[in-house]
Subunit: 324 residues, 2 copies
């Protein structure tokens, strides 16, 4: 993604005008643009936008402003997430709010949010004003969904019971909204009509939900060498992930121990086994499978250049079957 | 402003779709839409937008979506400000983050930020796509300036010395950016060319800076029955307002006591007198006067329907000469 990364860095470097503000430094730090060794994440969302635009047969470079914008929205949400979840580390280094304090961290997230909308307007150089406005509408609707999902995620922490329906509503907002925005955005910029855009959106939506469920699975049964987290960490953290909320509903041994709080690593390993014995892991895998099937079915239905469709299939496979 | 308020409330009530999210409640609480007795603020910014649009001779109702959007941006910034400044109360009741916790407060601000951009797109029903896009660009540039100003405001707290130049840079971002956006937005929607829009912007900019300097003056010498704060409260709070940073630079008795920290109310009264003796109050008043003159001069230069110009002059007088 050298063109995308070049654009992102150029934009961040030229964005700030005030000589007294150091916000650029905070942006560069969080985005991993400080030096060649910084970790930058996988850029899945901008990749999906550029590929989706290419899938329509249009020049993918037209979608670069949108790809940059979507990546910035993703990162704004991470900066604020870290504050909301009290997350101290992000990609192995101090979170922005830890390094610069909560007020500056919060404000840097706001600044990044604003920068994303500003970048999106550059689309008008490549497509019509009408499509550019549709893109702004799509992005702001996506941010609405993101914040609704985030509301639920925070709310779940203090609730004893969360239904699968509520969980899916949360995941659709928190994770799937921006991924489906990425694919739909590409189709929109490529000039596809609403009906075709929705097929790209459906693919992104199902991909996003499946991705999150898989992540939840990894949070308990994943190989820590791959995930970078300790195995069973979601049980130790008391996170309301899908296996855990199903466990609370359907495994009485799991539920009664979980309710007592303060779970050590060695206990979490036993509790993860209870979830398997009581059929929870199978339920999670079944739900996961149904969403991956939805994703590949949606991909199948998309009007998409053959080579691009194959590439999207490969990307989806890479995302969804990381280790199992 | 009954039409504006009706639109704002209608928008907030219809905005959220997710059945599980309670964000609407947080919005209504913060915006004072809960019941008739709730305080809602003065709606200065949307008023300026609607009046500026009327000033061009165009139908002011065209600008309603922008007025709603700007008011939402103002309130998003207040929600986040309260977290950043550790402000517990907002208009006499608990701040959102105090009532719902920091994570939900932060997220509600993000949601309001997104809702503002979504609302702005409704402009396209009233004006061309090109003007609507210019409005989105203006709003996102304004948010850039807002967050730069906020960066400086937070930064100043931990710095021993702040220059007047830096202070003005902060105020232009934190206060004047959204006020100048309000006036420029009205001119833009009214169909004025760039050159004329800039005159409206200049008026809002000077009005905003003067407004903030006056607020700083009130924070030390104001009548607490008018401001609702205790007199000299900025000295007690150790805030880097204009009189204080000038005092730090030019009044040695003030500076040496200020540096020791922990200032009681009765001491603050003495320190406020030192600022007067050492000519600081005069300097503040002089700077204030030069900005009010700039504002009225800019207003003079604006191509603006006579009745509206008189109304804008009255509003400016009300804002700037509240008590002196």
């Amino acid at each position: 993604m050298p063109v995308f990364l070049f654009e992102l860095e150029e934009y961040v470097n030229s964005y700030f005008k005030d000589p007294y503000s150091e916000l650029k430094t905070l942006f560069r730090y969080h985005l991993g643009l400080e030096d060649a060794s910084s970790k930058q994440g996988k850029h899945i969302r901008p990749l999906l936008t550029l590929m989706s635009c290419a899938g329509t047969g249009s020049d993918w470079q037209k979608a670069i402003p949108a790809a940059v914008s979507i990546e910035l929205i993703h990162h704004f949400s991470l900066i604020h997430d870290d504050i909301e979840d009290n997350g101290l580390l992000r990609r192995g280094k101090d979170a922005v709010w830890v390094k610069w304090g909560l007020p500056q961290g919060l404000n840097a997230g706001d600044a990044m949010f604003a920068s994303a909308f500003r970048k999106l307007i550059d689309l008008k150089k490549n497509v019509s004003d009408s499509i550019t406005l549709d893109a702004v509408e799509l992005l702001s609707d996506t941010c609405q969904r993101l914040t609704q999902g985030q509301y639920l995620d925070i709310d779940f922490e203090n609730r004893p019971v969360v239904s699968v329906k509520e969980y899916l509503s949360m995941v659709r907002g928190k994770t799937a909204a921006l991924i489906s925005c990425s694919t739909k955005m590409g189709a929109l910029i490529g000039g596809y009509i609403q009906e075709e855009q929705c097929k790209y959106e459906d693919f992104g939506e199902a991909l996003g939900v499946a991705f999150q469920i898989y992540d939840d699975w990894l949070g308990i049964w994943g190989d820590h060498e791959v995930t970078g987290k300790s195995v069973t960490s979601d049980i130790v953290d008391g996170k309301k992930s899908l296996p855990i909320l199903l466990g609370l509903e359907k495994s009485s041994q799991f539920a009664s121990r979980f309710a007592q709080g303060e779970i050590a690593q060695n206990e979490a390993i036993i509790m993860a086994k209870w979830l398997q014995e009581d059929g929870i892991e199978k339920s999670v895998t079944d739900i996961y499978t149904s969403w991956t099937e939805k994703a590949f079915l949606a991909l199948e239905k998309m009007s998409c250049a053959v080579g691009v469709k194959t590439a999207l299939e490969e990307l989806a496979n890479k995302l969804l079957i990381r280790k199992k």
